[in-house]
Symmetry: C2
């Protein structure tokens, strides 16, 4: 066998470097870790050897020896949805600052398998876990808590658990938005819900109802359409609402994506937004600002939620005892041009 070092590409170890630079094992380690107790000349010699040999540290071994990986795991239900993307942006940014790496898991993956796959999979490689919008976390939350594995939920809402979590004030956001519509003179306000298995969707509906109640307006079941957070539901919801004998003059969709669907449906019927129908969304995804008309919506501090959750996780990592609680970040009404004062419909 002539050259069997083809396989060995990059297989330069700390030992090779030591040999090449004529120092010992541990000294190379010191150089690598910027230990100040190394004579400049020695350091230079080692650095040189590192360059020449193309040595690169083996994180795997380092992690094992040190007992920490500097990797945190993020569990998301799915990718490609702008909503989660925003949260991820926050997580990513925070992780970057701290020099941590990110391991991504999708819920659907292996969802069928053992409930504690999260814990077992993660053990040893991930120092902590961020759970984004968990759907049925009952499966693994127990394991996580029992093992005292550091983790925090993001946008959980309404899940009965003691796990630390960060969410947004969905109830208040919906309340304020509804109140704004009422202030504009609207009396019949349609509502398109999100997936009702999600706490945030429930909270938004409750906020809407509470605002109606607060202003002594009736809560009409026919004005509440059950959606699922997808655009299609916005289209169908708006159509259903507009087909009512006594249609609403404003529609509040539980998220921007459905609001966009509703806007399309409204226009498709030859009605105008906001002249004929006011529309308001929830989330304030980037796109909603560039629609025509720009969408009035309730901003959810998505990126910030990601940041805060990550910081909380770091806190837990540093002080295992510290009981970090659940926090809710404020939502904010963003008034743009898809809403207008109530006036009688021409028809």
């Amino acid at each position: 066998m002539p050259n069997d070092d083809v396989q060995t590409t990059g297989k330069v170890t700390i030992f090779d470097v030591a040999e090449a630079s004529g120092v010992s094992y541990g000294t190379v380690s010191r150089v690598i870790n910027n230990d100040p107790h190394v004579r400049p000349a020695t350091r230079a010699r080692v650095m040189d050897a590192i360059q020449r040999l193309g040595y690169v540290i083996n994180r795997q071994a380092q992690s094992l020896a040190r007992g920490q990986t500097h990797v945190i795991g993020v569990l998301v239900p799915e990718l490609g949805n702008g909503y989660i993307g925003e949260i991820m942006r926050g997580i990513d940014g925070e992780l970057d600052q701290a020099g941590y790496d990110l391991m991504l898991f999708t819920t659907h993956r292996r969802a069928a398998k053992e409930a504690n796959y999260v814990a077992s999979l993660v053990q040893g490689v991930v120092e902590g876990l961020l759970l984004v919008l968990p759907r049925n976390p009952a499966d693994y939350l127990g394991v996580l808590s029992a093992r005292k594995f550091p983790h925090v939920l993001i946008d959980h809402q309404g899940i009965d658990t003691t796990s630390p979590a960060v969410g947004a004030t969905n109830w208040q956001g919906a309340f304020v938005a509804t109140e704004y519509l009422i202030g504009l003179g609207h009396r019949r306000i349609g509502f398109i819900t999100g997936s009702m298995d999600l706490g945030c969707a429930q909270d938004r509906l409750e906020g809407y109802k509470a605002a109606l109640r607060a202003h002594h307006l009736p809560i009409c079941p026919e004005l509440i359409y059950e959606g699922d957070f997808f655009q299609h539901a916005g289209v169908q919801g708006a159509n259903a609402l507009l087909d009512l004998p006594e249609p609403p003059s404003a529609i509040f969709a539980s998220n921007d994506v459905m609001a966009m669907g509703a806007m399309d449906a409204v226009r498709h019927r030859g009605l105008r937004v906001p002249d004929d129908i006011s529309i308001i969304g929830f989330d304030n995804i980037p796109q909603s600002a560039v629609l025509l008309p720009p969408l009035t919506t309730v901003q959810q501090p998505l990126e910030q939620m990601g940041r805060v959750a990550t910081q909380m996780l770091f806190d837990m990592l540093q002080e295992p005892g510290k009981r970090t609680s659940r926090i809710e970040l404020p939502t904010e009404l963003i008034v743009r041009q898809s809403t207008a004062p109530y006036r009688n419909r021409i028809g």
Copy 2:
């Protein structure tokens, strides 16, 4: 110090299990790895101990000993964009089947730091790398190739490198789409480009021009608006095009997001799609099917690109020598309702 085993949560090792079940060190390892050379009774005893102690394998140590991590890295420019989400879905699915985990890196992170951070960061923890839509890969592609580090580019296009890659037939897609518009009778066709620093954007523009040429139609510079793949560019592009003394009767946007922007702009001017202006996009993102009207577009097999790239990477992992080439997956024209035969404008 009363109980100091709080820190030790989950710190059960293979050694503890061995002791508890009265077997040796290595036997436990055999059980864990489903080695058939273990007497059922022994296996049962070990399994029991594992259960009782709540032992969970340390992937870190396993990886070090085995010399493989079962983790592959994915480098993306950004999250939260539906386009990348689709690709990720494909990657994720394929990885799942193979039992691999996914480490996510964003380009912006540490982008400023050393060019070979990719290689160094990745060494030892990631077995291979998937580079999605790399913008200026010149920085690290060299290192990757030099080290023969397994990697494949996704939707690279026009980057002069020998790295294996998978893309889509952008040129052909644009050609076919333009030809379709011409077949509909359109003669002045506006074009909104993508970020021209991306190969795919260039290819699409060239495909458009080629189709025009093939049908002996003039290529008018004023009909080509330089966009950037974002919605806003679609709005501005459409406005610029429609403000022309001799506006186009159809607009071809280099991606669906800009096509959506263009649709909004057209409608905002009181014109109708497709009656007054035909609009065609590129990508076929999920949303484009639920627009009103549904968008005619060129489908890019995004998810499949992710799948194929991942498979290519696995091939490389198994046969390091094997020279996998660059492949292009076919695009396909999806005709929906945003395009219609040409007719003279009323105005």
